[in-house]
Protein backbone atom coordinates (compact mmCIF):
# COMPACT_ATOMS: atom_id res chain seq x y z
CA UNK A 1 0.00 0.00 0.00
CA UNK A 2 1.35 3.38 -0.97
CA UNK A 3 2.28 5.82 1.79
CA UNK A 4 1.18 9.44 1.52
CA UNK A 5 4.69 10.69 0.88
CA UNK A 6 5.95 7.83 -1.28
CA UNK A 7 8.23 9.03 -4.06
CA UNK A 8 10.08 7.44 -6.99
CA UNK A 9 13.72 7.81 -6.04
CA UNK A 10 15.06 7.61 -9.61
CA UNK A 11 15.27 11.03 -11.26
CA UNK A 12 12.79 11.70 -14.08
CA UNK A 13 14.11 12.52 -17.53
CA UNK A 14 12.58 15.99 -17.27
CA UNK A 15 9.87 17.95 -15.48
CA UNK A 16 6.79 19.32 -17.21
CA UNK A 17 5.97 21.91 -14.58
CA UNK A 18 7.35 23.68 -11.52
CA UNK A 19 4.66 21.76 -9.62
CA UNK A 20 6.30 18.45 -10.50
CA UNK A 21 9.63 19.68 -9.16
CA UNK A 22 8.03 20.93 -5.94
CA UNK A 23 6.04 17.73 -5.43
CA UNK A 24 9.05 15.48 -5.93
CA UNK A 25 11.49 17.43 -3.79
CA UNK A 26 8.99 18.07 -1.02
CA UNK A 27 8.49 14.32 -0.72
CA UNK A 28 12.21 13.66 -1.00
CA UNK A 29 12.84 16.05 1.87
CA UNK A 30 10.54 13.99 4.13
CA UNK A 31 12.89 11.03 3.69
CA UNK A 32 15.69 12.84 5.52
CA UNK A 33 16.50 12.90 9.19
CA UNK A 34 17.45 16.44 10.19
CA UNK A 35 18.37 18.40 13.31
CA UNK A 36 15.10 20.29 13.01
CA UNK A 37 13.22 17.00 13.37
CA UNK A 38 15.55 14.48 15.05
CA UNK A 39 18.17 14.02 17.74
CA UNK A 40 21.50 13.65 15.92
CA UNK A 41 24.21 12.68 18.39
CA UNK A 42 26.98 12.32 15.81
CA UNK A 43 30.33 12.46 17.56
CA UNK A 44 32.75 15.03 16.11
CA UNK A 45 29.96 16.73 14.15
CA UNK A 46 28.35 18.95 16.78
CA UNK A 47 24.81 18.73 15.43
CA UNK A 48 23.43 21.52 17.55
CA UNK A 49 20.26 23.51 16.86
CA UNK A 50 20.55 25.92 13.91
CA UNK A 51 18.92 29.24 14.92
CA UNK A 52 16.62 30.60 12.25
CA UNK A 53 17.76 34.19 12.60
CA UNK A 54 21.05 33.04 11.14
CA UNK A 55 19.29 31.78 8.03
CA UNK A 56 17.22 34.97 7.84
CA UNK A 57 20.29 37.19 7.74
CA UNK A 58 21.77 35.24 4.86
CA UNK A 59 18.64 35.94 2.77
CA UNK A 60 18.75 39.75 3.08
CA UNK A 61 18.75 41.26 -0.42
CA UNK A 62 21.66 43.63 0.17
CA UNK A 63 23.82 40.62 0.92
CA UNK A 64 22.36 38.17 -1.56
CA UNK A 65 22.83 40.41 -4.55
CA UNK A 66 26.33 41.67 -3.72
CA UNK A 67 28.89 40.67 -6.33
CA UNK A 68 32.09 39.36 -4.71
CA UNK A 69 34.18 41.89 -6.63
CA UNK A 70 32.12 44.72 -5.11
CA UNK A 71 32.80 43.79 -1.50
CA UNK A 72 35.58 46.42 -1.25
CA UNK A 73 33.40 49.26 -2.54
CA UNK A 74 31.86 52.19 -0.71
CA UNK A 75 28.19 51.17 -0.86
CA UNK A 76 26.27 50.91 2.41
CA UNK A 77 25.82 47.18 1.88
CA UNK A 78 29.51 46.48 1.21
CA UNK A 79 30.53 48.60 4.20
CA UNK A 80 28.12 46.78 6.49
CA UNK A 81 29.28 43.38 5.27
CA UNK A 82 32.93 44.30 5.79
CA UNK A 83 32.07 45.59 9.25
CA UNK A 84 30.39 42.39 10.42
CA UNK A 85 33.05 40.17 8.86
CA UNK A 86 35.68 42.24 10.68
CA UNK A 87 33.69 41.81 13.87
CA UNK A 88 33.53 38.06 13.27
CA UNK A 89 37.31 38.04 12.83
CA UNK A 90 37.69 39.92 16.11
CA UNK A 91 35.30 37.73 18.05
CA UNK A 92 36.79 34.48 16.77
CA UNK A 93 40.30 35.75 17.49
CA UNK A 94 39.39 36.61 21.06
CA UNK A 95 37.50 33.37 21.66
CA UNK A 96 40.37 31.28 20.29
CA UNK A 97 43.25 33.22 21.78
CA UNK A 98 44.58 34.00 18.32
CA UNK A 99 45.63 37.28 16.75
CA UNK A 100 43.74 37.18 13.44
CA UNK A 101 41.62 34.96 11.23
CA UNK A 102 41.28 34.49 7.52
CA UNK A 103 37.65 33.73 6.72
CA UNK A 104 38.41 32.29 3.26
CA UNK A 105 38.51 28.51 3.76
CA UNK A 106 35.23 26.89 2.80
CA UNK A 107 35.42 23.94 5.17
CA UNK A 108 37.47 22.46 8.00
CA UNK A 109 39.63 20.39 5.68
CA UNK A 110 40.19 23.49 3.56
CA UNK A 111 41.30 25.31 6.70
CA UNK A 112 43.66 22.46 7.58
CA UNK A 113 45.24 22.61 4.14
CA UNK A 114 45.63 26.38 4.44
CA UNK A 115 47.18 25.94 7.88
CA UNK A 116 49.65 23.38 6.57
CA UNK A 117 50.61 25.79 3.77
CA UNK A 118 51.16 28.52 6.38
CA UNK A 119 53.46 26.22 8.37
CA UNK A 120 55.29 25.31 5.20
CA UNK A 121 55.84 28.95 4.21
CA UNK A 122 56.87 29.89 7.75
CA UNK A 123 59.79 27.47 7.55
CA UNK A 124 60.58 28.24 3.90
CA UNK A 125 60.83 31.95 4.69
CA UNK A 126 63.38 31.10 7.38
CA UNK A 127 65.36 28.94 4.92
CA UNK A 128 64.39 25.92 6.97
CA UNK A 129 62.67 23.89 4.24
CA UNK A 130 64.37 20.73 5.46
CA UNK A 131 61.41 20.63 7.84
CA UNK A 132 59.07 18.50 5.75
CA UNK A 133 57.53 16.19 8.39
CA UNK A 134 54.10 16.74 9.94
CA UNK A 135 53.40 14.76 13.12
CA UNK A 136 49.83 13.50 13.39
CA UNK A 137 48.27 11.30 16.12
CA UNK A 138 46.93 7.92 14.99
CA UNK A 139 43.54 8.92 16.39
CA UNK A 140 43.30 11.97 14.10
CA UNK A 141 40.46 12.54 11.69
CA UNK A 142 41.40 11.49 8.12
CA UNK A 143 41.41 15.06 6.83
CA UNK A 144 44.53 15.80 8.92
CA UNK A 145 46.95 13.45 7.09
CA UNK A 146 45.17 14.07 3.77
CA UNK A 147 45.62 17.86 4.10
CA UNK A 148 49.24 17.52 5.22
CA UNK A 149 50.04 15.29 2.23
CA UNK A 150 48.44 17.72 -0.23
CA UNK A 151 50.51 20.52 1.29
CA UNK A 152 53.61 18.52 0.43
CA UNK A 153 54.43 17.13 3.88
CA UNK A 154 55.51 13.63 4.83
CA UNK A 155 53.05 12.32 7.42
CA UNK A 156 54.61 10.86 10.59
CA UNK A 157 52.09 9.06 12.79
CA UNK A 158 52.34 9.40 16.58
CA UNK A 159 50.84 6.60 18.66
CA UNK A 160 48.19 7.13 21.30
CA UNK A 161 49.09 5.80 24.73
CA UNK A 162 47.05 3.43 26.90
CA UNK A 163 45.01 6.36 28.26
CA UNK A 164 43.89 7.34 24.76
CA UNK A 165 45.98 10.50 24.75
CA UNK A 166 49.11 11.26 22.74
CA UNK A 167 52.02 9.04 23.78
CA UNK A 168 54.63 11.61 24.83
CA UNK A 169 57.51 9.15 24.51
CA UNK A 170 56.52 8.27 20.97
CA UNK A 171 56.29 11.99 20.24
CA UNK A 172 59.79 12.61 21.61
CA UNK A 173 61.15 9.77 19.47
CA UNK A 174 59.86 11.43 16.31
CA UNK A 175 60.92 15.03 16.94
CA UNK A 176 63.89 16.15 14.86
CA UNK A 177 65.21 19.00 12.77
CA UNK A 178 62.86 17.74 10.04
CA UNK A 179 59.79 18.43 12.15
CA UNK A 180 57.65 21.13 10.57
CA UNK A 181 54.87 20.81 13.11
CA UNK A 182 52.21 18.74 14.76
CA UNK A 183 48.46 18.64 14.15
CA UNK A 184 46.29 17.98 17.15
CA UNK A 185 42.81 18.41 18.45
CA UNK A 186 41.85 19.04 22.07
CA UNK A 187 39.73 17.38 23.26
CA UNK A 188 40.89 14.56 20.99
CA UNK A 189 38.75 12.30 18.82
CA UNK A 190 38.16 9.97 21.76
CA UNK A 191 36.40 12.82 23.55
CA UNK A 192 39.20 13.20 26.10
CA UNK A 193 40.97 16.35 27.20
CA UNK A 194 44.65 15.99 26.35
CA UNK A 195 46.04 16.58 29.82
CA UNK A 196 49.60 17.19 28.67
CA UNK A 197 48.82 19.55 25.83
CA UNK A 198 50.93 22.38 27.27
CA UNK A 199 53.90 20.02 27.51
CA UNK A 200 53.31 18.75 23.95
CA UNK A 201 53.26 22.28 22.57
CA UNK A 202 56.47 23.08 24.41
CA UNK A 203 58.22 19.95 23.12
CA UNK A 204 57.30 20.66 19.52
CA UNK A 205 58.24 24.33 19.84
CA UNK A 206 61.61 23.43 21.31
CA UNK A 207 62.23 21.16 18.36
CA UNK A 208 61.48 24.12 16.07
CA UNK A 209 58.03 23.07 14.92
CA UNK A 210 54.67 24.82 14.96
CA UNK A 211 51.51 23.48 16.59
CA UNK A 212 48.30 23.18 14.52
CA UNK A 213 44.90 23.07 16.25
CA UNK A 214 42.11 21.12 14.56
CA UNK A 215 39.02 22.96 15.78
CA UNK A 216 36.53 20.14 15.20
CA UNK A 217 36.04 19.70 18.95
CA UNK A 218 36.06 23.37 19.91
CA UNK A 219 32.52 23.02 21.26
CA UNK A 220 33.94 21.51 24.44
CA UNK A 221 36.11 24.47 25.33
CA UNK A 222 35.18 27.74 23.65
CA UNK A 223 34.61 30.47 26.22
CA UNK A 224 36.34 28.39 28.90
CA UNK A 225 39.74 27.82 27.34
CA UNK A 226 41.28 28.48 23.95
CA UNK A 227 43.82 26.97 21.53
CA UNK A 228 45.94 30.09 21.93
CA UNK A 229 46.12 29.58 25.69
CA UNK A 230 47.17 25.97 25.15
CA UNK A 231 50.11 27.02 23.01
CA UNK A 232 48.86 26.45 19.48
CA UNK A 233 50.23 28.66 16.70
CA UNK A 234 47.71 28.04 13.90
CA UNK A 235 44.29 26.48 13.85
CA UNK A 236 40.97 26.27 12.08
CA UNK A 237 37.44 26.29 13.39
CA UNK A 238 34.42 24.59 11.89
CA UNK A 239 31.65 27.19 11.81
CA UNK A 240 29.17 24.45 10.86
CA UNK A 241 29.99 22.69 14.10
CA UNK A 242 30.71 25.02 17.00
CA UNK A 243 28.96 28.07 15.58
CA UNK A 244 25.68 26.51 14.46
CA UNK A 245 25.92 27.01 10.70
CA UNK A 246 23.55 24.32 9.31
CA UNK A 247 25.09 21.26 7.66
CA UNK A 248 22.99 21.40 4.50
CA UNK A 249 23.20 17.68 3.81
CA UNK A 250 27.00 17.78 3.67
CA UNK A 251 27.82 21.47 3.27
CA UNK A 252 28.39 24.38 2.88
CA UNK A 253 30.26 25.07 6.08
CA UNK A 254 33.26 27.28 6.67
CA UNK A 255 36.68 26.65 8.17
CA UNK A 256 38.29 30.00 9.09
CA UNK A 257 41.98 29.77 9.90
CA UNK A 258 43.53 31.70 12.79
CA UNK A 259 47.10 32.42 13.81
CA UNK A 260 48.93 33.70 16.85
CA UNK A 261 50.77 36.98 16.87
CA UNK A 262 53.65 37.07 14.42
CA UNK A 263 52.10 34.86 11.77
CA UNK A 264 49.37 37.22 10.49
CA UNK A 265 51.36 38.07 7.35
CA UNK A 266 51.11 34.50 6.12
CA UNK A 267 47.31 34.20 6.14
CA UNK A 268 45.41 33.69 2.89
CA UNK A 269 43.72 36.97 1.90
CA UNK A 270 41.53 38.90 1.95
CA UNK A 271 41.54 39.58 5.70
CA UNK A 272 38.61 41.56 7.08
CA UNK A 273 39.77 43.91 9.79
CA UNK A 274 38.51 47.27 11.00
CA UNK A 275 35.96 47.36 8.16
CA UNK A 276 38.70 47.11 5.55
CA UNK A 277 40.19 44.32 3.44
CA UNK A 278 43.86 43.54 3.88
CA UNK A 279 46.23 41.55 1.69
CA UNK A 280 48.82 39.99 4.00
CA UNK A 281 52.37 40.79 2.90
CA UNK A 282 53.81 37.25 2.91
CA UNK A 283 50.54 35.45 2.23
CA UNK A 284 50.45 31.83 1.14
CA UNK A 285 48.13 33.16 -1.58
CA UNK A 286 44.49 32.72 -2.50
CA UNK A 287 42.95 29.47 -1.34
CA UNK A 288 39.54 29.99 -2.91
CA UNK A 289 38.18 31.84 -5.95
CA UNK A 290 36.38 34.68 -4.23
CA UNK A 291 35.83 35.70 -0.59
CA UNK A 292 34.92 32.44 1.11
CA UNK A 293 31.52 31.15 2.20
CA UNK A 294 30.15 34.55 3.20
CA UNK A 295 26.61 33.14 3.63
CA UNK A 296 27.97 30.83 6.31
CA UNK A 297 30.14 33.55 7.89
CA UNK A 298 27.24 35.94 8.51
CA UNK A 299 25.24 33.11 10.08
CA UNK A 300 28.07 32.48 12.56
CA UNK A 301 28.26 36.22 13.27
CA UNK A 302 24.54 36.31 14.11
CA UNK A 303 24.88 33.21 16.28
CA UNK A 304 27.67 34.65 18.40
CA UNK A 305 25.95 38.04 18.71
CA UNK A 306 22.70 36.50 19.95
CA UNK A 307 24.51 34.15 22.33
CA UNK A 308 26.78 36.73 23.94
CA UNK A 309 30.07 35.85 25.64
CA UNK A 310 28.31 34.33 28.65
CA UNK A 311 26.18 32.23 26.34
CA UNK A 312 29.23 30.98 24.45
CA UNK A 313 30.82 29.79 27.68
CA UNK A 314 27.57 28.36 29.05
CA UNK A 315 27.07 26.39 25.81
CA UNK A 316 30.45 24.65 26.14
CA UNK A 317 29.82 23.83 29.78
CA UNK A 318 26.37 22.40 29.05
CA UNK A 319 27.79 20.36 26.15
CA UNK A 320 30.32 18.71 28.46
CA UNK A 321 27.77 18.11 31.23
CA UNK A 322 25.32 16.53 28.76
CA UNK A 323 27.96 14.19 27.32
CA UNK A 324 29.03 13.04 30.78
CA UNK A 325 25.39 12.50 31.74
CA UNK A 326 24.98 10.20 28.74
CA UNK A 327 28.27 8.52 29.63
CA UNK A 328 27.34 7.57 33.21
CA UNK A 329 23.87 6.47 32.07
CA UNK A 330 25.20 3.99 29.47
CA UNK A 331 28.69 2.95 30.54
CA UNK A 332 27.50 -0.24 32.18
CA UNK A 333 26.11 -1.64 28.94
CA UNK A 334 28.50 0.02 26.46
CA UNK A 335 31.85 0.27 28.29
CA UNK A 336 35.02 1.34 26.51
CA UNK A 337 38.50 1.79 27.89
CA UNK A 338 37.76 5.48 28.45
CA UNK A 339 34.17 5.39 29.70
CA UNK A 340 35.10 5.46 33.39
CA UNK A 341 36.85 8.80 32.99
CA UNK A 342 35.34 12.25 32.55
CA UNK A 343 34.79 12.93 28.90
CA UNK A 344 34.57 16.28 27.17
CA UNK A 345 31.66 17.18 24.85
CA UNK A 346 31.46 13.69 23.37
CA UNK A 347 31.68 10.22 24.87
CA UNK A 348 33.34 7.23 23.26
CA UNK A 349 31.41 4.09 24.13
CA UNK A 350 31.69 0.63 22.63
CA UNK A 351 29.36 -2.21 21.68
CA UNK A 352 32.15 -4.72 22.11
CA UNK A 353 30.79 -6.12 25.40
CA UNK A 354 27.30 -6.33 23.91
CA UNK A 355 28.71 -8.08 20.86
CA UNK A 356 30.49 -10.63 23.01
CA UNK A 357 27.51 -11.33 25.22
CA UNK A 358 24.62 -11.03 22.83
CA UNK A 359 26.04 -10.71 19.30
CA UNK A 360 24.80 -7.09 18.92
CA UNK A 361 27.44 -4.93 17.21
CA UNK A 362 27.70 -1.17 16.65
CA UNK A 363 26.07 -1.34 13.22
CA UNK A 364 23.06 -3.15 14.67
CA UNK A 365 22.78 -0.57 17.45
CA UNK A 366 22.76 2.11 14.75
CA UNK A 367 20.02 0.43 12.74
CA UNK A 368 17.89 -0.06 15.86
CA UNK A 369 18.27 3.63 16.76
CA UNK A 370 17.04 4.57 13.27
CA UNK A 371 14.03 2.34 13.87
CA UNK A 372 13.36 4.33 17.03
CA UNK A 373 13.62 7.69 15.27
CA UNK A 374 17.11 8.73 16.38
CA UNK A 375 19.93 9.40 13.99
CA UNK A 376 22.71 7.05 15.07
CA UNK A 377 25.94 8.34 16.63
CA UNK A 378 29.23 8.07 14.78
CA UNK A 379 30.14 4.39 14.49
CA UNK A 380 33.49 2.67 13.94
CA UNK A 381 35.43 5.87 14.53
CA UNK A 382 37.93 6.45 16.05
CA UNK A 383 39.48 3.13 15.08
CA UNK A 384 41.36 2.82 18.37
CA UNK A 385 38.24 1.27 19.87
CA UNK A 386 36.40 -1.71 18.43
CA UNK A 387 32.66 -1.35 17.79
CA UNK A 388 33.04 2.36 18.60
CA UNK A 389 30.01 4.52 19.31
CA UNK A 390 31.02 8.19 19.49
CA UNK A 391 28.12 10.16 20.98
CA UNK A 392 27.92 13.97 21.03
CA UNK A 393 24.57 15.18 22.41
CA UNK A 394 25.46 18.94 22.24
CA UNK A 395 24.11 21.59 24.58
CA UNK A 396 20.85 22.29 22.72
CA UNK A 397 19.00 19.07 23.52
CA UNK A 398 16.70 19.15 26.55
CA UNK A 399 16.80 16.59 29.35
CA UNK A 400 13.69 14.80 28.06
CA UNK A 401 15.41 14.07 24.75
CA UNK A 402 18.61 12.92 26.45
CA UNK A 403 16.62 10.56 28.69
CA UNK A 404 14.66 9.24 25.70
CA UNK A 405 17.91 8.45 23.92
CA UNK A 406 19.42 6.78 26.97
CA UNK A 407 16.31 4.70 27.43
CA UNK A 408 16.36 3.67 23.77
CA UNK A 409 20.02 2.63 23.98
CA UNK A 410 19.23 0.52 27.06
CA UNK A 411 16.24 -1.10 25.37
CA UNK A 412 18.33 -2.02 22.34
CA UNK A 413 20.59 -4.14 24.52
CA UNK A 414 17.58 -6.27 25.44
CA UNK A 415 16.41 -6.91 21.88
CA UNK A 416 16.72 -10.30 20.25
CA UNK A 417 19.15 -10.64 17.33
CA UNK A 418 16.30 -11.77 15.15
CA UNK A 419 14.36 -8.56 15.82
CA UNK A 420 17.37 -6.25 15.38
CA UNK A 421 18.36 -7.81 12.06
CA UNK A 422 15.10 -6.53 10.55
CA UNK A 423 15.67 -2.90 11.61
CA UNK A 424 14.95 -0.37 10.30
CA UNK A 425 11.66 -1.44 8.73
CA UNK A 426 10.02 2.00 8.93
CA UNK A 427 12.29 3.90 6.54
CA UNK A 428 11.84 4.04 2.80
CA UNK A 429 14.74 1.64 2.21
CA UNK A 430 16.48 -0.95 4.37
CA UNK A 431 20.09 -2.23 4.32
CA UNK A 432 21.19 -1.02 0.89
CA UNK A 433 23.86 -3.17 -0.76
CA UNK A 434 26.95 -0.98 -0.49
CA UNK A 435 29.26 -3.64 -1.91
CA UNK A 436 27.22 -3.78 -5.09
CA UNK A 437 27.27 0.02 -5.38
CA UNK A 438 31.08 -0.04 -5.24
CA UNK A 439 31.58 -3.11 -7.44
CA UNK A 440 29.30 -1.88 -10.21
CA UNK A 441 29.18 1.89 -9.92
CA UNK A 442 26.05 3.45 -11.39
CA UNK A 443 26.53 7.15 -10.83
CA UNK A 444 23.88 8.76 -12.99
CA UNK A 445 20.38 8.13 -14.29
Amino acid sequence: MKKFNEVELEPPKFYRTEGEVVRRFTRLSTLNFSVDANFYPLGSCTMKYNPKICDFISTLPGLRELHPMRIGEDSAQARTLRRILSELNEMLSDLCGFSSFSLSPAAGAHGELSGCLIIRKYHADRNDSIRNEMLIPDSAHGTNPASAAIAGFKVVTIKSGPTGCVDIDDLKRHLSNRTAGMMMTNPNTLGLFEERVLEICELVHSAGGLMYYDGANLNAIVGVSSPGAMGFDVGHINLHKTFAVPHGGGGPGAGPIGVRKGLEDLLPGPIFSGGKMISPSRSIGKVIGFNGNVGALVRAWAFIKTLGSEGVERASRDAVIAANYVRVSLKDIYPSFVSERFCAHEVLLSAEKLKREKGINALMVAKALIQMGFHPPTIYFPMLVHEALLIEPTETENLETLDEFISAMRRIAELSLEKISKFPNNTIIRHPDEARAARNPVLKG
Binding site: Y380, A435, A438, R439
Partner: protein
Protein backbone atom coordinates in the same frame (compact mmCIF):
# COMPACT_ATOMS: atom_id res chain seq x y z
CA UNK B 1 36.03 -18.07 15.11
CA UNK B 2 32.48 -18.73 13.93
CA UNK B 3 33.39 -20.51 10.71
CA UNK B 4 36.25 -22.86 9.95
CA UNK B 5 38.75 -20.95 7.81
CA UNK B 6 40.34 -22.75 4.88
CA UNK B 7 44.10 -23.27 4.78
CA UNK B 8 44.83 -25.59 1.82
CA UNK B 9 47.77 -27.92 2.27
CA UNK B 10 49.22 -27.51 -1.21
CA UNK B 11 50.07 -23.82 -0.75
CA UNK B 12 52.69 -21.71 1.01
CA UNK B 13 51.84 -18.58 3.03
CA UNK B 14 53.11 -15.24 4.35
CA UNK B 15 52.56 -13.49 7.67
CA UNK B 16 50.66 -10.83 5.77
CA UNK B 17 48.04 -13.38 4.71
CA UNK B 18 49.06 -13.95 1.11
CA UNK B 19 49.14 -17.48 -0.36
CA UNK B 20 51.55 -18.79 -2.98
CA UNK B 21 50.99 -21.61 -5.46
CA UNK B 22 54.12 -22.81 -7.22
CA UNK B 23 53.22 -23.35 -10.85
CA UNK B 24 54.75 -25.98 -13.15
CA UNK B 25 56.74 -23.28 -14.97
CA UNK B 26 58.35 -22.22 -11.71
CA UNK B 27 56.35 -19.00 -11.36
CA UNK B 28 54.35 -18.14 -8.26
CA UNK B 29 50.63 -17.52 -8.36
CA UNK B 30 49.54 -15.18 -5.54
CA UNK B 31 46.28 -14.43 -3.76
CA UNK B 32 44.96 -13.61 -0.29
CA UNK B 33 43.85 -16.19 2.24
CA UNK B 34 40.39 -17.07 3.50
CA UNK B 35 41.32 -15.37 6.78
CA UNK B 36 42.20 -12.15 4.96
CA UNK B 37 39.02 -12.01 2.86
CA UNK B 38 36.97 -12.68 5.96
CA UNK B 39 38.63 -9.79 7.80
CA UNK B 40 38.19 -7.40 4.89
CA UNK B 41 34.52 -8.06 4.25
CA UNK B 42 32.91 -7.58 0.84
CA UNK B 43 35.68 -6.78 -1.60
CA UNK B 44 34.76 -4.27 -4.28
CA UNK B 45 37.92 -3.57 -6.24
CA UNK B 46 41.48 -4.76 -6.74
CA UNK B 47 44.27 -2.49 -8.01
CA UNK B 48 46.61 -4.89 -9.81
CA UNK B 49 50.39 -4.51 -10.23
CA UNK B 50 51.77 -3.64 -13.65
CA UNK B 51 52.97 -6.58 -15.71
CA UNK B 52 56.78 -6.62 -16.00
CA UNK B 53 57.12 -4.70 -12.73
CA UNK B 54 60.02 -5.91 -10.61
CA UNK B 55 59.07 -6.46 -6.98
CA UNK B 56 61.23 -7.17 -3.95
CA UNK B 57 59.78 -9.49 -1.31
CA UNK B 58 57.62 -7.29 0.93
CA UNK B 59 56.95 -4.50 -1.62
CA UNK B 60 53.35 -3.43 -2.04
CA UNK B 61 52.15 -5.33 -5.10
CA UNK B 62 48.41 -4.74 -5.15
CA UNK B 63 45.66 -3.01 -3.20
CA UNK B 64 42.37 -4.55 -2.19
CA UNK B 65 39.40 -2.33 -1.45
CA UNK B 66 36.40 -3.33 0.56
CA UNK B 67 33.47 -0.97 1.08
CA UNK B 68 35.04 0.73 4.08
CA UNK B 69 38.75 -0.05 3.93
CA UNK B 70 41.86 -0.55 1.84
CA UNK B 71 44.49 -3.22 2.40
CA UNK B 72 47.85 -3.77 0.75
CA UNK B 73 48.90 -7.06 -0.81
CA UNK B 74 52.66 -7.55 -0.49
CA UNK B 75 54.93 -9.45 -2.88
CA UNK B 76 55.56 -12.81 -1.15
CA UNK B 77 58.79 -13.39 -3.07
CA UNK B 78 61.24 -11.34 -5.12
CA UNK B 79 60.57 -11.46 -8.84
CA UNK B 80 58.87 -9.88 -11.84
CA UNK B 81 55.12 -9.72 -12.40
CA UNK B 82 54.23 -11.86 -15.43
CA UNK B 83 50.43 -11.87 -15.38
CA UNK B 84 47.39 -10.46 -13.61
CA UNK B 85 43.98 -12.02 -13.26
CA UNK B 86 42.43 -9.67 -15.82
CA UNK B 87 38.90 -11.06 -15.59
CA UNK B 88 38.80 -11.13 -11.80
CA UNK B 89 35.40 -10.51 -10.26
CA UNK B 90 36.09 -8.92 -6.84
CA UNK B 91 33.37 -11.10 -5.31
CA UNK B 92 35.51 -14.15 -6.16
CA UNK B 93 38.24 -12.94 -3.81
CA UNK B 94 35.66 -13.47 -1.06
CA UNK B 95 33.99 -16.60 -2.39
CA UNK B 96 36.94 -18.41 -4.00
CA UNK B 97 40.10 -16.87 -2.57
CA UNK B 98 42.33 -19.80 -3.54
CA UNK B 99 40.84 -20.58 -6.93
CA UNK B 100 39.01 -18.08 -9.17
CA UNK B 101 40.05 -15.29 -6.79
CA UNK B 102 43.79 -15.45 -7.59
CA UNK B 103 45.37 -12.03 -8.12
CA UNK B 104 48.64 -12.15 -10.07
CA UNK B 105 51.60 -14.33 -11.08
CA UNK B 106 55.26 -13.50 -10.73
CA UNK B 107 58.61 -15.10 -11.36
CA UNK B 108 60.07 -16.72 -8.28
CA UNK B 109 63.74 -17.44 -7.55
CA UNK B 110 63.25 -18.89 -4.10
CA UNK B 111 60.46 -19.73 -1.68
CA UNK B 112 62.73 -19.19 1.35
CA UNK B 113 60.95 -17.38 4.13
CA UNK B 114 57.46 -18.55 3.21
CA UNK B 115 55.39 -20.37 5.80
CA UNK B 116 54.02 -23.89 5.44
CA UNK B 117 50.31 -24.52 6.14
CA UNK B 118 50.92 -25.63 9.71
CA UNK B 119 52.95 -22.52 10.51
CA UNK B 120 50.29 -20.29 8.94
CA UNK B 121 47.49 -22.00 10.86
CA UNK B 122 49.47 -21.25 13.97
CA UNK B 123 49.46 -17.55 13.18
CA UNK B 124 45.75 -17.18 12.55
CA UNK B 125 44.48 -19.18 15.51
Amino acid sequence: MAKELLVPDNLLYTREHEWVLLLQNGNARVGITDYAQHELGDIVHVEMPEVEKRLEKGDTAAEIESVKSVASVYAPVTGTVVACNESLDPADVNGNPYDKGWLFEMSCDTTDGLLNPTEYRGIIS
